[in-house]
Amino acid sequence: MLANQIGYYSLILGLLSSFLLCAISIKDFNKNNKGVNQKIFTLSFLQLTFVVVSFLSLILSFINSDFSNETVFNNSHTTKPLFYKISGTWGNHEGSLLLWLLVLTLFIFLFLIKSREQPKKYRILTLLFQQIIIIGFFLFVLMTSNPFNFLFPTPNEGLGLNPILQDPVLAIHPPILYLGYVGSSIIFSASLAAVTQNYISKEWGQHIKKWVLASWIFLTIGIMLGSIWAYYELGWGGFWFWDPVENVSLMPWLTLTALLHCTLVLERRNDLTSWVVILSITTFTLSMCGTFLVRSGILNSVHTFASDPTRGIFILIFLFILIFLSLGIFFLFHKENNKDSNSFFWLSKETSILINNWFMMYFLAVVLIGTVYPIFIDVISVEKISVGPPFYHKLITPFLAPFLLFMAFGSKLKWIKSKIEEKKLLIMFFIISVTLTFIILENITTDLLFYTVLISAAFFLFFTTLKELFLKKFNNISQTIAHFGFSLFILAVLFNSILSSEIITNIKVGEKYNYNKSEIFFKKIEEKQESNFNSIVGYFKITDENSKVTWLKPELRFYNQPITITSEADIKTTLLDDKFLVMNLVKGNEYFNIRYQIKPFMIWIWISILLISIGGLLSLFKKKYEK
């Protein structure tokens, strides 16, 4: 009760401090003092504190199961374990927006502390732009999705959290992903401020690179966590489904990756200035679009909580204001910085980074069209369509091979002008890659040519980066690790998709199912009881062709609040493969529908993504780019 009030009023105080901050910073902007006024720091800290207090009081309401709070009532239940009571705070629309706000205010405060060496006017402008976004979100939360709505009379019991969200990975997935999404807001504000001050320069490049890297790392890990969750919880046995909601998080990742590479050019060569600004604007716009698409109920998925049209319209209007504001500023203030931007030879690091950008933009276009086209068709006609995975595979995979080759070559090139070194070694690697691929693939796939090209390219990148890792001094380790991780990722994904096998069948308790000298034996079921669900555990004995026995125990959970059935897959992971078994109950029948999959190299997909993020992390902690 009390927590509710405190939370609500401290949100309002947070909004007030936003207005106050704007007023003070505008006043401070024209003064000639050197540093930023101390009041601004204090206020920004105060604002952060208000939002933190508000967020904590929401968590407290969730822990105490205070059902006089509408959000708690809609998304919690007394029998839920404490951990999921807490994670339920951001497992819903209102709470997750409060988290957005928290990260927004946290980042601008960190920015103020971390940017002391930057020009004062630039810092104040960044703060102003960020406050515009923050005010927008404050208004959005207070007007359309207040997490502290009061319910009277107080209900005795809540409605419960969607059971498939009751999962440890999904408890940390939203905060991490948001750090990535919202991190792009700082890049957005900072690049607009830098444009108005004509401060897009090498120094700015070095300074903004840290922020780009930080949000890129969080976004990468956030997407990976979501993907891991989808893999074991949704029981489809894959890690990426080209679901609109996944695509929406992939799009800012693509632009952010492009931006990351561009800032390298900017900090070294003071070039590609407009491109950097455009990418910064696009990244944040795509993050906002993501929030809009997911929250408005246009896309149907787990992320779509109650859909309320006013929310969608609010975000849409806010989004348009931001886009017009940023484009306006860009065209009015941006001057191409010609004084020390020099042209570069066609064979140079700059070219290779540009090529990387072209590829990223192409991938972005494909994902964007695939995601938006069905919505577009729905708006202009009565037809309902969906775009499936074949669309993406067909358009993306052919471009992957050249992309990988450029990645292998490009990172070896020098700035301004370069020639290809170690030709013999590269040719040798190339031959090794092709023969190796051919030997591996000869007997396992029908689509030999297509896969040979792709996998050879991936192996080529794999060997070249591996060689760098072992032989070179550690002068560019972050990049090498990230690129090595990427080659590993592509290899794992490709072999995983070629070698996966799947059995789907309906089976009764006590029955056996035989295939290719292997056997699945459904021994028995056992019933279990937990505080908020009952479950059936199936015991499956799997004997493979080498008579090796694996026991898998998938589970069916019957949650009481809300009444939902979920299946928990049982997965046995080894370095070589994952054995994945999920069972479903077909209501009113004694048959259980089971799906058994062998997924080779599954763990390597996660390991490689971690490697890529570690590459980013190393770069973040490196003092300065070596000349």
């Binding site: 149907n300 069209i369 789907i504 939902t564 979920t566 109950l585 009113g588």
Partner: protein, 139 residues
């Protein structure tokens, strides 16, 4: 004559234009091939010609219509005006049950039989895909 720089820019521009056109063409082409249309049982009944392409059918699973054996699940999708028999072998989502909304993806055998290759998982007991809602007229 134009200078070398202008010439280079011209070549560059042509290259970019050509690749953009190529990409647009590629994307549109594969969109055409890979788009899956959604149809209700009533719409299928009124088809003049059977489509060979993959489609989605949505509606309610008719009560008492689910039959299951070791390799198939058979059921009827209804929009309360017309219905269609579905033959399916594959994984069944948890929320699939009689009297609930369903979306099946696959191919039409004829106007009365649908060979499903996938039944789409929905995550919430009360959630109804917008397509299904529309197909059964907000019932």
């Amino acid at each position: 004559m134009y200078g070398k720089k202008v010439k280079l820019r011209f070549v560059f521009l042509v290259l970019i234009l050509a690749s953009v056109i190529l990409i647009v063409f590629l994307v549109l082409q594969s969109l055409k091939e890979n788009v899956v249309y959604f149809q209700s049982p009533t719409e299928i009944k009124s088809l003049v010609e059977l489509d060979k392409k993959k489609i989605r059918v949505g509606g309610m699973v008719k009560e008492q219509s689910v039959f299951i054996n070791s390799n198939e699940v058979n059921f009827i999708i209804t929009d309360f005006k017309n219905e269609i028999n579905v033959i399916y072998s594959g994984a069944v989502p948890n929320l699939f049950s009689e009297g609930k909304g369903v979306v099946a993806e696959g191919f039409l055998k004829d106007k009365n039989y649908f060979l499903a290759t996938k039944i789409l998982a929905k995550h919430d007991e009360n959630y109804m895909p917008p397509e299904v809602k529309e197909a059964i007229g907000d019932k």
